[in-house]
C-alpha cells in the first residue's frame, strides 16, 4: 500500500468503513474505478477525497457548505483542488457556452463544473491533472492563481 493511502487509512479509516456501504453516490462519482473514500461531510458530489492512480486528490467546490476540507488560508470562494496535499490552482475561463475551468496541468482543455450534468467536473479536472502529472509532484507554480477572465 502506498504511503499516502496508509496514512489516510488511519485518518479516515472509521469513516471509510461507515460510508463504504452507505453512500452509493460517492461510488458513482469516481467513474474510473477508484473507490471514493468519502466522509459523511463529503455528501455533496462536487466535494471529494479519492485515490486515483495512487494519488490522493481532494476537491472542494466554490461555495461548498463543507469547509472542513479547506486548507488554511482558503476562502472557499473558489474551487480548491489538492493532489497529495499540494495545491492545484483552478482558474475560470470564459467559453462561448458558459464558464470552463483549467489548471496549470491541463491548460488547453477546459472542463465545465457545476452546471447541468457537470457536477463531477472538478473531479474530472483533478483526474486529468494526475494523468499529466504521472509520478511527479506539483510545484508552487501549479498552486499560483492567474487571472484568465470569465
Amino acid at each position: 500500500m502506498p504511503e499516502i493511502s496508509r496514512r489516510d487509512a488511519l485518518r479516515y479509516g472509521a469513516a471509510t468503513v461507515a460510508v463504504a456501504t452507505a453512500v452509493g453516490g460517492a461510488q458513482a462519482l469516481s467513474g474510473s474505478g477508484s473507490p471514493a473514500r468519502a466522509t459523511p461531510a463529503h455528501r455533496d458530489p462536487r466535494d471529494f477525497t479519492v485515490t486515483y492512480r495512487g494519488r490522493e486528490i481532494t476537491g472542494v467546490h466554490a461555495g461548498s457548505g463543507d469547509r472542513s476540507a479547506l486548507r488554511a488560508g482558503a476562502t472557499g470562494a473558489a474551487h480548491e483542488v489538492h493532489i497529495d496535499g499540494r495545491r492545484l490552482a483552478v482558474m475560470a475561463i470564459a467559453l462561448p457556452g458558459g464558464t470552463g475551468y483549467i489548471s496549470a496541468l491541463n491548460h488547453y482543455e477546459p472542463v465545465l463544473i457545476d452546471t447541468g450534468g457537470n457536477q463531477d467536473g472538478l473531479l474530472r479536472l483533478a483526474r486529468r491533472a494526475v494523468d499529466v502529472l504521472g509520478d511527479r509532484e506539483l510545484t508552487a507554480l501549479a498552486g499560483a492563481t492567474h487571472d484568465h477572465g470569465r
Binding site: A94, A104, E137, T139, L141, G149
Partner: protein, 277 residues
Amino acid sequence: MGVRKNARDLTSAEKAAFVAAVKRLKAQTTGRNYDWFVTTHINYFAAVGGVRYAHQSPSFLPWHRQYLTEFEKALQVLDPSVSLPYWDWTGDRTATGAPFTADFMGGTGAGGNGPVTTGPFAGATNWRITVSASSATSLRRALAAGGATLPTGTQVNRVLNVAAYDAAPWSSASATGMRNMMEGWNRQGANLHNAVHVWVGGHMAQQDSPNDPVFWLHHCNIDRLWSQWQTRWGFDAGHYLPPAGTAGVVDLNEEMQPWGGVTPAAVLDHRASYTYA
C-alpha cells in the same frame, strides 16, 4: 529573408543545426535564454495589467507571431542558418512519424505519459526542465493518449473559411470569428491550437508548454495557417480586429507587451521578413 520549411522536409543537417541552436539557447545563462521564453509565455498567458496579450484575445495570433520571431532571432544569433520549421499535423498525424523521430524531436513518453526516451531532448541530462508546474525534470509527452485526436484538414479549412478575424467579446468566449476557432476555445466546428497541445500531452498540455521544443513547430504551423487566412482575406490592417477603443485587449495600433513598441499592425504582413515553403 528566411524560409520556414515543413519539418518533414528538413535535411539531416538542417535538423541537427536546429537542435544544436535550441540546446545552445537552453545552455545560455544570461539574457533571453530558452527558459526566459518559457517564463514569458507563462506570465503572458494570463492577463497582465488587465490586458490579455498572448491568449484568449485577438492578439493571440500577432503576439505569437512576434514571440516566434524573437525566438528565431535568438537562435540565429547562435546559428544564422537556422529558421523555424513547422509541423503540419494535418499531414503528419502519428506518434512515430515526423517530427517525432529520434533524429529530431524524439518520441512519446515512457508508459504513455512519462519521460521521453528517444531523441536529443530525452532525459534531464540532455534537456533539463527548470520552470514548470510539475517537478519532472525530464521532458514528458503522452502522444495521442486518452483518446486525443489531431485536427483534420477539413477542420482547418472550416476555420480558414471564416471571413471575420475575430468578434466581441474578443475573448475565449467569442462564439464567432476565425481567431477563437483557431485558438480552440470555441470548439464548435473546429479546435485547432488547443487540441494539438492536448494531443502531445505531458509538458505541452501544461501552462509551461514551451518546455517542449515541439511547441515552436506547432506554433509555427498556427502562424502559417494565419498567413494562409491572410493570403485569402488580406494582409491589410482591415483584417485585424478590433481597430480601437476596446478595453482589456490589444487594438490594432496598441503595443503588445513585452515586445516593446510592436503592435499588431506592425506584424500583419510578415512577407518581407519570412515566408512559408
